[in-house]
Subunit: 76 residues, 2 copies
Amino acid sequence: IPLSRTIRCTCIETSTQSVNPRFLKKLEIIPASQSCPRVEIIATMKKNREKRCLNPESKAIKNLLKAVRKERSKRS
Amino acid sequence: IPLSRTIRCTCIETSTQSVNPRFLKKLEIIPASQSCPRVEIIATMKKNREKRCLNPESKAIKNLLKAVRKERSKRS
């Protein structure tokens, strides 16, 4: 057991609100690690590159991941 | 129709090989856009921060996303 450990999570709170995949610039998924004990999902929006932390266990994330993966060359 | 358009995808080729979620530092999902007509999934590995492009349509990605999302405070 280490004497002390600095917890450095990126997200303070998460949103369970859904994100429109069309306005999404990037989605980052950071697995749990020694620096942060929970999975973090950070959505960067196109507008202002605003970042939003999403709840990994929400239904909205599941649907978003599905939508993004399926979106192929529609906008080419 | 624009006269010309510069395609700037991050990935040149993708791997369908599976990635062990334990060695994964970060997973980035970039939706299709005007600069790149396809979805890109970039895995950054813990070791050397090596980056790997993954095929969004592969079964391996589906399982990886599931594994990462489900991995909660196991390593805390």
